[in-house]
């Protein structure tokens, strides 16, 4: 029987998806190729692609239809929102005093029966008003009984004429308790005192039968009263009346408002429990105290927002928050490793200083009793919390009095019980097994490691001591480089002993080479076209700097006839050869800085290398000036409509003309220097032959601004104000496209313009790229994409610990996803996704908000050098040059999990095997491209140490292919593979095939020919999670098991040579032979990696202890002299294998202050060192990839240039 025909439509969908993943220009070719000869199918797909391109925001606003439908049922003439002066019942609205997800709070005047000022809370949502009021009525009696100085009274509730429920409360003036404490710098002790007030207030309410249900800082207002802080708890009875569903519902309507509430919600509230009791308030009081002590809620709002509703609920129900001391020490640590004066450091200092403490001391003050007090209140099991707020307050008071507190750390047995409660079924089964096994195994493991520790004395200790000096130098070198002292860093690194240097040293050296360099340039300057020099203007004339050595090569002096109080303002341009420079010189008076009114403009031209100055050319004060590309001619347009072209070398007039009616609003020179273009106020675009002054064309245009495309062939005129000073916005508007040479209109296009303060130049190019892209099909296309690649690398990118910026094009998410990220002060962070609906949203929430950088940084212009090697910024007085590094980070892909990494020697690209596709990542440009998307689910994958081969297993097949995805060798089509491994040269592959839950078969193939070589039956602890792990060296298979045992099986004679040993307390999670086969690295669930020595691999060489979470992946350097490990703690560590000394910790990728879209939220799944030994690559289970590079930018530019030549 023949195979069933694949559904033609699913084929169309597949081709469609494939085409979307490649650049626009390549789509047609790809579709034609994938459709074979099927023209109908190809037409269909092309039609869909055209529809995709034209669809715009079609259907992107899902609620629109619903809104419309609902609107259709609505009555005509909806009432306007409430306004001040309006009366609601007995209350007159005066002014709004607060706004939130719930609605609006008004200051209102009650007129009867008593005249008083009240707070009136008007709910926004159209909830069932009758029920709200009814529920309030139920509790009205109880609320009326409450009489406590720390409780704001609730007077009334009702409904407006339009059916909106409202509440009337005592008007309380004050700040949310957390704000108050921070603003007044209350010490920990004062905070605790204030907190007990709140507890007693809540206790009072409880005694009257009222549960608050929504205690959070915004509901506890504090004001200073008789010199003492006085807390008032507001909103009693309101959460109950609005119903438990308010909060759940708000999730979907008022996302952020909801999060504001969720952070304080107890697990049982999240569960939707019906029997909410007083202990819910105890929990919320716990979160309040947590925030008062640490400055943050137990769960971070930002992190919560990123998760889905279900995940938020799970976190609150199950996840144990960090203890307060751990939270603040986490902040302090982040601050310590961050440069002084950075955001993280400031934040830690701010938190501490607001509590009258040093950032370093705060954890110590909280550790112990306060930790346990807070954690007791926050217990997931309400039976284990304080029974009453009073009990809570009393324990806090015992702490203040120095007495023993009731709260205590949870015992081990308690933790076991807690685990058991959550995993009832599992535990019963496992307990029996562990009881039998654990005693024997654990003892054996510990004995083994102890024996190793004993041996570690002597020779090894000596070697470790030598390495300690090396590590110290390495670290100080990195710190110096990070602080911007590249020279000092290089000296420090040079003092490292040559024999000890490894990858981490080269990494540090590249980092130092790329460290920023400062040049004492205060005035205007320009890069020479080759990017090697900088020319700047001073009082004396023009100076020529060598960028590399930072020295002045020459000063070309000219007399500017400046008076003492006058300062020159140069605007310098250079020709394409770097031999002629012209400067427009204006003079400002220095009398008062604000009155820098530039006067007396003139043009000065310098010829190099002769250093000869051309005669001075005086111009009008407000003239617009444009130079020809060779700087030989200059066009000057005055306010009177006169346009004059001068020869700069002789300062003589070449030709002149006058715009009859009006003046020139915008002046441009075509890129080839042929035409002078002027937008005139009489709504005409005029073009003159630059050399002769002959009018080439006149075109009617309404618009007031013009932009040239990168090739110069197209001109866009638009009304979008690309120079608007308002930063951080994205404007859309129409641009009319005009053929530069003929002046003919060729179309219109919607333009996106980014106004990023001084980034308008970038915005202009962005627009220009859009124009070229739109033209499509032209030879320019290739160039456009090159430009994109260049642009990407123009911005300074990541050094190891110093974050700067990246512009990514994630090719997997078409059309183009732009991300310019960074939390370095020099680079603003923006994220624009042209595929998404609302760029503003991403823009504002993910980027600028997170930065908190000083405004004057944002005002700085960032100028890339012409060769893209450097970026110049002037943050303070001096000009600072940064090496532009390509992105070392490829962001997450939805639903993709990196399974393994390989390296394509031919193209020098990193290949990542994801759960269902292969992707290449170019370490030079940061490009990521989809290789194949056959939608298979790869259950296991492995790569050879040389990176050349990949072994991929789906549930039904095993294949070996080369790293570029070609030449697949099918090995088996029936297998249920649980684990797979390749030899280092990729010649053999072994797979563990499951025949049952525990019965398995090891099968060995020749990966080149596909012939099965050997097979051996094994029985493992379990084939499901965690699956067994495999490593292969020749015929020798290492099989790591979930029960912590390791088997070494020689598949050449399996029966004879199977050895079994216990290697760890937990499951074996990673296994790898070193390239020279001398070592076997065994990663364990407890975070320890053991290294065992050949030939028997039963002797422990060393144990690498450092990871705080399970080991996730291991890699060796090609020379086997370094081991790299990564673990569930998300750190990547570099080790010296024979001594077990940790040489470097590449840190956690989670960097405080990074925009959320760029967090590596995923767990590392694989680790690889490229065969050239230069790049360390980690893959994550969310599809992200991270690269640590031991190549400095200069070398990479060489690599890029070499590639361009090929």
């Amino acid at each position: 029987m023949s195979e069933p025909m694949p559904n033609p439509n699913s084929r169309a969908k597949q081709i469609f998806a494939g085409a979307l993943a490649v650049p626009v220009a390549e789509r047609e070719a790809l579709v034609a190729k994938m459709c074979g000869g099927d023209c109908e199918l190809a037409d269909h797909v092309m039609k869909l692609l055209a529809a995709h391109a034209a669809a715009g925001d079609f259907l992107c606003e899902p609620s629109a239809e619903v809104r419309a439908a609902v609107a259709a049922t609505a009555k005509e003439g909806e009432p306007p929102p409430e306004q001040s002066g309006q009366r609601i019942g007995a209350y007159k609205l005066l002014q709004p005093i607060g706004d939130g997800g719930f609605g609006t709070v008004w200051m209102a005047e009650q007129q009867e029966p008593v005249r008083r000022m009240v707070a009136l809370k008007l709910l926004k949502l159209g909830m069932d008003t009758r029920q709200v009021v009814a529920r309030f009525e139920q509790e009205r009696q109880a609320l009326a009984l409450m009489d406590h100085p720390n409780i704001a009274r609730v007077f009334d509730a009702g409904a407006t004429e339009r059916g909106r429920p409202f509440f009337v409360m005592e008007l309380v003036k004050g700040q949310p308790i957390t704000d108050y404490c921070d603003r007044h710098g209350l010490s920990i002790r004062a905070r605790l005192d204030l907190f007990t007030q709140v507890c007693y207030a809540v206790q009072h309410a409880h005694s009257k039968g009222v549960i608050h249900r929504d205690i959070k800082p915004r509901n506890v207002l504090v004001a200073t009263h008789d010199g003492q802080p006085l807390a008032k708890v507001i909103d009693f009875g309101i959460a109950k009346a609005t119903g438990p569903r308010l909060t759940e519902k708000t999730l979907f309507t008022e996302h952020h408002a909801m999060i504001g509430t969720l952070e304080y919600m107890s697990p049982e509230q999240v569960d939707g429990a019906l029997d909410i009791d007083t202990r819910t308030d105890v929990y919320s009081l716990g979160t309040l105290l947590y925030e008062l002590l640490t400055g943050g809620t137990p769960f971070d709002a930002r992190e919560l927002i990123a998760k889905g509703y279900a995940e938020i609920c799970r976190i609150i129900r199950e996840v144990e928050p960090p203890r307060p001391s751990a939270r603040v020490s986490g902040t302090a640590q982040a601050a310590w490793s961050a440069p002084a004066g950075s955001e993280a450091a400031k934040s830690a200092a701010r938190i501490a200083s607001a509590r009258h403490a040093e950032a370093r001391e705060l954890p110590g003050m909280l550790r112990g009793d306060l930790d346990w007090i807070v954690m007791k209140a926050l217990d997931k099991d309400r039976g284990r919390r304080y029974a009453t707020p009073t009990g809570f307050a009393e324990d806090v008071e015992r702490f203040l009095a120095g007495e023993a507190v009731v709260a205590a750390p949870p015992g081990r047995w308690y933790r076991v019980r807690k685990f058991a409660r959550r995993n009832r079924g599992l535990v019963v089964g496992v307990t029996a097994v562990t009881a039998a096994l654990s005693i024997g195994l654990t003892a054996a493991v510990l004995a083994g490691r102890d024996a190793f520790r004993a041996r570690k004395n002597g020779a090894v200790q000596g070697e470790r001591a030598e390495l300690a000096t090396y590590v110290k130098n390495l670290q100080s070198g990195l710190v110096q480089a990070e602080a911007g002292s590249g020279d000092a860093a290089r000296v420090t690194l040079d003092s490292c002993v040559v024999e000890q240097r490894g990858w981490e040293w080269r990494y540090a050296q590249a980092f130092a080479a790329d460290a920023p360099r400062a040049l004492p340039i205060r005035g205007s300057w320009v890069f020479t076209p080759d990017g090697n020099r900088i020319v700047d203007g001073t009082r004396e004339g023009l100076r020529v700097w060598d960028v590399r050595s930072r020295t002045v090569l020459a000063t070309h002096k000219v007399s500017l006839n400046l008076k003492l109080h006058e300062e020159p303002i140069w605007k310098i341009v250079s020709d394409k050869t770097g031999t002629r420079f012209a400067g427009v010189l204006r003079v400002s008076t220095k009398k008062r800085e604000k009155e820098t009114d530039p006067k007396r403009p003139e043009i000065r031209t310098l010829e190099l290398p002769t250093g000869k100055w051309a005669p001075t050319l005086a111009i009008a004060l407000d003239a617009k000036v444009e130079f020809s590309p060779d700087v030989r001619l200059v066009a000057v347009a005055g306010n009177d409509g006169a346009v004059v072209v001068h020869d700069t070398t002789t300062a003589t007039q070449v030709w002149n003309t006058k715009v009859a009616s009006g003046q020139v609003t915008s002046l441009l020179m075509s890129l080839d220097g042929e035409l002078l273009l002027a937008l005139c106020s009489d709504a005409k675009l005029r073009a003159w032959q630059l050399a002769t002054g002959e009018l080439r064309y006149e075109t009617d245009v309404e618009e007031t601004r013009m932009l040239l495309s990168p090739s110069g062939s197209m001109l866009a005129v638009t009304d979008i104000d690309v120079e608007a000073a308002d930063g951080g916005t994205m404007d859309r508007g129409t641009g009319v496209l005009i053929d530069t040479a003929s002046g003919k209109r060729v179309g219109e296009k919607e333009l996106f313009v980014l106004n990023l303060r001084d980034w308008t130049d970038w915005a202009v190019e962005f627009v220009a790229e859009a124009i070229d892209e739109e033209r499509g099909g032209l030879p320019g296309d290739r160039r456009v994409s090159t430009r994109l690649a260049q642009r990407r690398s123009r911005f300074p990118v990541d050094g190891e610990r110093r974050r700067t910026g990246v512009l990514h094009s994630a090719c997997l998410q078409q059309p183009v996803t732009w991300l310019l990220e960074g939390n370095h002060p020099f680079v603003p962070s923006i994220a624009i996704d042209r595929d998404r609906e609302d760029p503003h949203h991403q823009f504002s929430t993910q980027s600028w908000d997170h930065l908190g950088e000083p405004r004057w940084f944002q005002k700085q212009r960032r100028t890339p050098s012409p060769d893209n090697r450097l970026v110049a910024v002037r943050p303070f007085a001096d000009l600072v040059l940064f090496a532009a590094r390509p992105p070392d980070y490829a962001p997450a892909i939805d639903g993709a999990c990196s399974r393994t990494l390989a390296f394509d020697q031919g193209t020098k690209q990193i290949v990542a095997a994801y759960s269902d596709c292969l992707v290449t990542y170019d370490p030079l440009t940061g490009d990521r491209l989809l290789l194949g998307d056959d939608q298979d689910n790869f259950v296991a994958a492995a790569s050879s140490a040389d990176g050349a081969y990949l072994a991929l297993a789906t549930d039904t097949s095993v294949r070996v292919l080369t790293a570029n995805g070609s030449n697949p060798v099918p090995l088996d089509d029936s297998a249920r593979v649980r684990a797979i491994a390749l030899t280092h040269d990729g010649a053999y592959v072994v797979a563990l095939l499951a025949n049952g839950e525990r019965d398995c078969e090891l099968r060995l193939w020749n990966a080149r020919t596909g012939t099965a070589m050997a097979s051996h039956a094994v029985r493992v602890a379990t084939t499901s999670a965690p699956p067994p792990t495999l490593a292969l060296a020749g015929h020798l298979v290492a099989l790591g098991d979930a029960d912590g045992t390791l088997r070494l099986i020689d598949l050449a004679s399996p029966a004879a040579a199977t050895r079994r040993m216990v290697v760890g307390r937990g499951a074996v999670t990673a296994l790898l032979f070193s390239p020279d086969r001398a070592l076997l690295a065994i990663g364990n669930d407890d975070g320890v990696v053991e290294l065992r020595r050949a030939p028997a691999y039963d002797e422990i060489v060393t144990a690498l202890e450092g990871h705080s979470g399970a080991t996730r992946a291991i890699a060796f350097s090609p020379d086997s002299k370094r081991v790299f490990t990564t673990g569930a703690d998300r750190t990547v560590r570099v080790w010296h294998p024979t001594t077990g000394k940790q040489l470097h910790d590449l840190g956690t990728p989670h960097i405080a202050g990074m925009p959320t879209c760029l967090h590596i939220a995923g767990m590392p799944t694989c680790l690889m060192m490229t065969p050239d030994g230069e790049r360390l690559v980690a893959g994550y289970d969310d599809g992200a990839i991270r690269v640590w590079d031991a190549v400095c930018w200069d070398d990479r530019v060489r690599e890029l240039n070499a590639r361009a030549k090929r």
């Binding site: 439509n9 699913s10 169309a12 969908k13 469609f16 998806a17 979307l20 039609k47 869909l48 692609l49 055209a50 529809a51 995709h52 034209a54 669809a55 715009g56 079609f58 259907l59 992107c60 606003e61 899902p62 609620s63 629109a64 239809e65 619903v66 809104r67 419309a68 439908a69 609902v70 609107a71 259709a72 049922t73 609505a74 009555k75 909806e78 009432p79 306007p80 929102p81 926004k124 949502l125 159209g126 909830m127 069932d128 008003t129 339009r162 059916g163 909106r164 569903r245 759940e248 519902k249 979907f252 309507t253 008022e254 889905g308 892909i893 939805d894 639903g895 993709a896 269902d916 939608q935």
Partner: protein
């Protein structure tokens, strides 16, 4: 409610449908223009009210949304038909393709045309159609849809892009 036999499902759908309609009407009585009501909020509210304590009757929350999407869709179609009849005897009007934002000048024929296109898409690619329904009628996000259909979010995105292009092309042809 637990069983999957069509009768009980229809019954449930009817109940849900009624509830959603009631909610929509009631909501509007209390809402001003430019309110924050969304499809998801409506469906969630209906879910909380109907399923509430009996939530375990559903195999999953996601399964519920599939039914809710269907009910939502019926409300919209019915509403559109009513209005279409009232306006001009059900005549088909020109369909603007600048996005189907019906909030301002609600043209019932658009809803119908879209619905017909979705029905045709269903014959062509049932899963893509399902993704469309969950997204535009139930207002679910990619991840929720992925959970509901038990596929990866990338598959949902692929389906969505495909379906969107497909529907756009279909509607443009109809025009």
């Amino acid at each position: 409610m637990r069983s999957s036999d069509p009768a009980s499902k229809d019954e449930l759908l009817a109940a849900l449908y009624g509830e959603l309609r009631r909610l929509a009407g009631q909501r509007m009585a209390h809402e001003r223009v430019g309110h924050t009501l969304t499809a998801t909020a409506l469906v969630h509210e209906a879910y909380l009210r109907i399923a509430g304590d009996r939530a375990d009757g559903w195999k999953s929350k996601a399964q519920f949304f599939a039914a809710a999407a269907e009910a939502m869709r019926r409300i919209l179609i019915e509403k559109a038909r009513e209005r279409g009849r009232a306006r001009r005897g059900g005549d088909r009007a020109r369909l603007p393709l600048t996005g189907l934002d019906l909030a301002d000048d609600h043209d019932p024929s658009q809803v119908q045309a879209l619905d017909e296109a979705v029905t045709r898409l269903e014959a062509d690619d049932p899963r893509a159609a399902q993704v469309v329904k969950l997204r535009i009628y139930a207002g679910l996000g990619e991840e929720e849809i992925a959970a509901a259909l038990e596929v990866s979010t990338r598959a949902v995105r692929r389906d969505w892009q495909y379906a969107r292009a497909w529907l756009f092309a279909a509607l443009r042809e109809a025009e």
